[in-house]
Amino acid sequence: MARYEAIQKIMESIDDELIVCNIGFPSRELYEICDRSENFYMIGSMGLASSIGLGLAVAKPRKDVVVIDGDGSLLMNMGSLVTVFANNPSNLTWIVIDNGAYGSTGNQDTYAQKINLVDVAKGIGFKNSFNFDDIDLKDVIRSDDAGFIVYETEPGNSSAPIIDLDPITIKERFMSSI
């Protein structure tokens, strides 16, 4: 199973949650699978999905926020694990689709192949650090602590096209949906 199927599986648990989605193929695939106003698609700034999600979750404590991140992007902003843990927004669930590869640039290997990201998050202190296969996503979304979930997949991209929304439209329709 590759990322596309993982995103399909994640979306089965999504109702009115706000989603912040990682740059590149993850956003393209989410757009094809289930475009909705409550999706914020990143078009630049690799690494910052979890940071955007944290700011949103703190600003909107009554809305559930789900971040769809990748292993390469997580490695680019490891400090975010600390900042998210320290602030522990109960309404934030951070899913890392871990395919061990920089998928959008040609599937080059990432160092995530050499480490266990669930253990890294547990080591920092996350109470809710799980493999996707071991949990019901909705339970983690509803829990009283920030969630960190690793979804292990094979590398590989679908043929999802480039998103045909301009950034301002993505922003404005997202904000008006809140």
């Binding site: 910052l48 940071s51 600003a59 909107k60």
Partner: protein, 163 residues
Amino acid sequence: MDSTQAIYDGLKDAEVDFIVSVPCVNLSKLLDMVDEDSEITHIPVTREEEGIGICAGAYLGGKRTAILMQNSGLGNSINALKSLMELYEFPLLMIMSHRGTEGESICGQVPMGESTPKILEGMDFSYFTPATPDEAYDNVRHAWEQSEDEGKPVSILLEISYW
């Protein structure tokens, strides 16, 4: 007017209610005031770039955002400032302690300090260099509105002589 109070009053007048920070010794009094203000959400961050992302998310959630940092943090944030903030037209107020300016005692601050205004010019971002607290108050209180109008971050550079 006190140099720190002027910045704080400007932020309050601009109705900034969400601040991320990486500390500088020259900002320490301001950071204390922000921490004590129950109307302002303050999130210290590990690196300035993640702070830019957090501010983008908070703006999506309806907040008026600012980052407090040294000018060195500008260097750590350039891509996010361009390919997140400018790309999506997110406003942001950047309050920077401008080190490496006249009176600097640490040589390591000088190269980035000298380049900071040129970097902002190269990024095509507006910035102000107030010399007095009165000027700073005036710059800060109008900077949020300017940032919204321009769809880009607006910076306040606070040189060593300012304090």
